[in-house]
Amino acid sequence: MLALHEVAIGASARVSDVTGCDSTSLRLLEMGLTPGVSVRVVGAAPLGDPLELELRGYRLSIRRNEAARVAIAE
């Protein structure tokens, strides 16, 4: 299964699940990365991490290891 950090820059993907039940996963869910939502990977910082996402009409930045928790539908 693919995760959000593997999505090419500029591409969009649909979230299928957020793994883990700790506070980081909860924060990702609260920020709108819920199963079913469409996310676009806008870009990455010059050093490759973190990523810039666009979802639900706003932009969000998360690190790659956090994006790895977000499973996407192929």
Partner: protein, 697 residues
């Protein structure tokens, strides 16, 4: 309106407690200022580093106490901010009454995510009013919101506000007065949403999905977007500013501008303050009769006040830029750009600006750590920020580098050794800070990885009111909270330097000094270069000023400070220092740069201005001629100079920084920790430098 008025009259005696809550970056602080003006109380909630901000205002005869809660995305208690928010809302926070009304600030340009928090608040069943903020920005972006329909769906009043223009403020106040009379409807259909979600997802995922499903249903037909172009305009700016080359260049240029501003633009203002303080001191000297009282007022109180006020230009300048960058949305982009660099040592991108500012002065730097929401990252940043070489260390480095590091080129003709040593001192601070941070994240602050889930807010123009309020708040909180303590420390140090004071013992010591110089002169060969210095020192003792300086030096050597310096000599010996250096370092506890002035007094130069060319060359001459008591061995050699510099690079000899750490963390444990670990590292660093230096040089 009628019910609101009735309620207002009824409760005229008891103030209404209203809580202001919302996501970060929603213009909540602008709304606070528009409603209540300058807060009546700013501080920390007991035991946590969460800011407590309370204001008061009057609407239609009803006194309203407004509590501003920190910006949060959710009410599920994960961070201290969220725990405080939940406790205040549930009436469990000691000293805070149960709120009569909750005002939820929701960003009109991004309602979908903002309503997540609103859905949780509506579930609490407290009287609630939703304030739609940033409506002017939403209008510009072509986002139209059907306010009556939204209010009907949410089951609570919804008010459009543009806080800087005061649009909707009156209506909001009316709604707040009316709110306690009617409870909101609980979010309808949330439970049904939850039941409809397949059991395949985790419980937190199901709750979030249910809330967003409810939000999507609530907003259906409420929000209409007519300007899709602006969204892509924002994305274009982001693509440019986070570009590998252009983004980095703009970032470096911005940071250079901020850094040089606090470093250089603040300097004329600081000089002005220093000149003003000098004038006041001169005036005080001319009015007050010489004696213990005037010494206390001038060298204790006035010096302390001057030492406090001098920081204001840098604090104000830094917070001006921070508020500007925060207001337009670049602050989170800067954290985004720098995160990878800092995450390796256990910090995050948000630590960058506080750490960079600490190169000018740790005090505004530590205060700027307020922009770091994550409490662990914030504390870690505060603890390592004083290791950045601030501008107070520069005079010490410059004097010692210039006087004791041979001015030879190393490798390349333009690469001089003193410049290299100076650079090395800055590097020492940075490297040690990285190591300390790594060590702390693996020991004291060990725990689950701290998430870096950060909103990148839309680009917008910074609001002048917000910038002004930020600058005012930072300056006032420094003066009020830290200022008094810094003055107190200054008075204590004055007492330690001035007492005990015994005229006879001073006279005796001046005679001993004169005889010591004469006997040394007798043993020196006619060609010895030190003869000139000693002759000059002897000649100075014959003048009024020179004698006064020698008496001042004797008084200082006989004071508690001199006594303490002799006591700690066994501790500073392994660093290559004599007791006089120990004294000067002890005396520099209020501020590092004091060390040079103290050395001047100890070496009988009197209160010289070591910042001026004349004063500094006089001091360097005395330092070069200094010998270990009763021997012919020079005190200041290259390893000793390096050892002093390394000590100053790492030590916590800055009472103001320690006081600010105490105030910003809300606990006196952390300044103690900072002082102990920095002093230990400084001693070890100076020890290693001296021992390795003497072995190789």
């Amino acid at each position: 309106m009628n019910t609101s008025h009735a309620a207002g009259v009824q409760n005229q005696k008891t103030p209404l407690t209203v809580v202001l809550l919302g996501n970060p970056n929603t213009g909540k602080s602008t709304l606070f200022t528009a409603l209540a003006g300058i807060p009546t109380r700013v501080g920390n909630y007991p035991g946590v580093t969460v800011e407590e901000k309370i204001g008061q205002f009057n609407h239609q005869g009803q006194v309203i106490q407004l509590i501003d809660l920190p910006g949060t995305y959710s009410l599920s208690p994960k961070s201290p901010d969220e725990i405080v928010a939940v406790n205040v809302l549930c009436g469990k926070m000691p000293g805070v009454p149960v709120p009569d009304c909750v005002v939820v600030v929701a960003d009109a340009t991004n309602l979908e995510r903002n309503l997540y928090l609103s859905s949780q608040i509506l579930e609490l069943g407290l009287p609630t009013v939703v304030a739609l903020s940033l409506c002017d920005v939403a209008d510009e972006k072509g986002i139209a919101i059907d306010v009556p329909l939204l209010a009907a769906r949410l089951g609570c009043p919804v008010v459009r506000v543009v806080a800087p223009q005061r649009e909707g403020i009156g209506t909001l106040c009316d709604c707040v007065l009316a709110a306690p009379a009617r409870l909101p409807a609980k979010p309808s259909g949330l439970n049904a949403d939850l039941a409809a979600i397949s059991a395949g997802h985790s419980q937190p995922a199901r709750e979030a999905m249910a809330r967003y499903a409810w939000i999507e249903r609530t907003l259906d037909g409420v929000v209409r977007k007519t300007g899709a172009a602006t969204e892509s305009f924002d994305a274009h700016i982001d693509a440019f500013l986070t570009h590998r080359i252009w983004g980095t260049l703009i970032f470096v240029a911005t940071m250079l501008l901020v850094f040089t501003s606090i470093f250089w633009l603040a300097t004329p203002l600081m000089d002005l303050i220093a000149a003003g303080m000098d004038a006041v001191t001169l005036l005080a000297e001319s009015i007050l009769p010489a004696g213990a009282l005037s010494s206390l007022l001038i060298n204790g109180v006035l010096a302390g006040v001057g030492g406090v006020v001098i920081f204001i230009p840098q604090i104000a300048m830094l917070f001006f830029f921070v508020a500007l960058l925060e207001g337009c949305g670049y602050l989170s982009r800067a954290a985004f750009l720098m995160d990878r660099l800092l995450v390796g040592v256990g910090l995050s991108g948000k630590s960058f600006i506080p750490l960079l500012s600490s190169f000018a002065c740790a005090i505004p730097g530590i205060m700027a750590a307020r922009t770091i929401e994550n409490p662990r990252d914030r504390l870690l940043t505060i603890l390592v920020a004083p290791l950045m070489s601030c501008s107070a260390r520069l005079p010490v480095y410059l004097l010692l580098c210039g006087a004791f590091v041979p001015n030879v080129s190393v490798g390349l003709p333009w690469l001089r050794l003193p410049a290299l040593v100076l650079t090395a001192m800055y590097a020492v601070g940075v490297i040690v800070a990285a190591l300390v941070s790594l060590f702390l994240t693996r020991t004291v602050f060990r725990g689950p990885p701290q998430p870096f889930v950060m909103e990148l807010p839309s680009w917008r123009w910074p609001r002048a009111v917000v910038v002004a309020e930020r600058v005012r708040e930072a300056s006032v909180s420094f003066l009020k909270n830290a200022g008094t303590l810094i003055v107190a420390v200054s008075i204590v140090v004055w007492a330690l330097v001035s007492y005990p004071h015994n005229e006879q013992a001073i006279e005796k010591e001046v005679t001993v000094v004169r005889e010591g110089l004469q006997s040394r002169l007798a043993t020196l060969a006619a060609s010895d270069p030190d003869r000139g210095t000693i002759n000059a020192e002897l000649a100075a003792l014959e003048t009024v000023d020179g004698l006064e300086a020698a008496r001042l030096g004797a008084a200082q050597r006989q004071s508690f400070l001199g006594y303490a310096g002799r006591c700690i000599e066994p501790i500073v010996r392994p660093l290559g220092w004599d007791w006089r250096i120990g004294c000067a370092v002890l005396a520099s506890f209020p501020a590092r740069e004091v060390v040079l002035g103290t050395l001047g007094v100890i070496y009988n130069l009197g209160p010289i201005d070591t910042g001026a060319e004349e004063g500094s060359t006089a001091l360097v001459r005395r330092l070069r001629a200094a010998r270990w008591d009763g021997t012919d061995r020079k005190v200041y050699t290259l390893p000793v100079a390096l050892s002093i510099m390394v000590f100053f690079a790492l030590c916590a000899q800055c009472a103001s920084t320690l006081v600010v750490i105490g105030k910003e963390t809300g606990s006196w444990l952390w300044p103690v920790v900072a002082f102990l670990y920095m002093t230990a590292l400084a001693w070890l660093g100076a020890f290693a430098t001296y021992q390795i230096g003497t072995a190789f040089l």
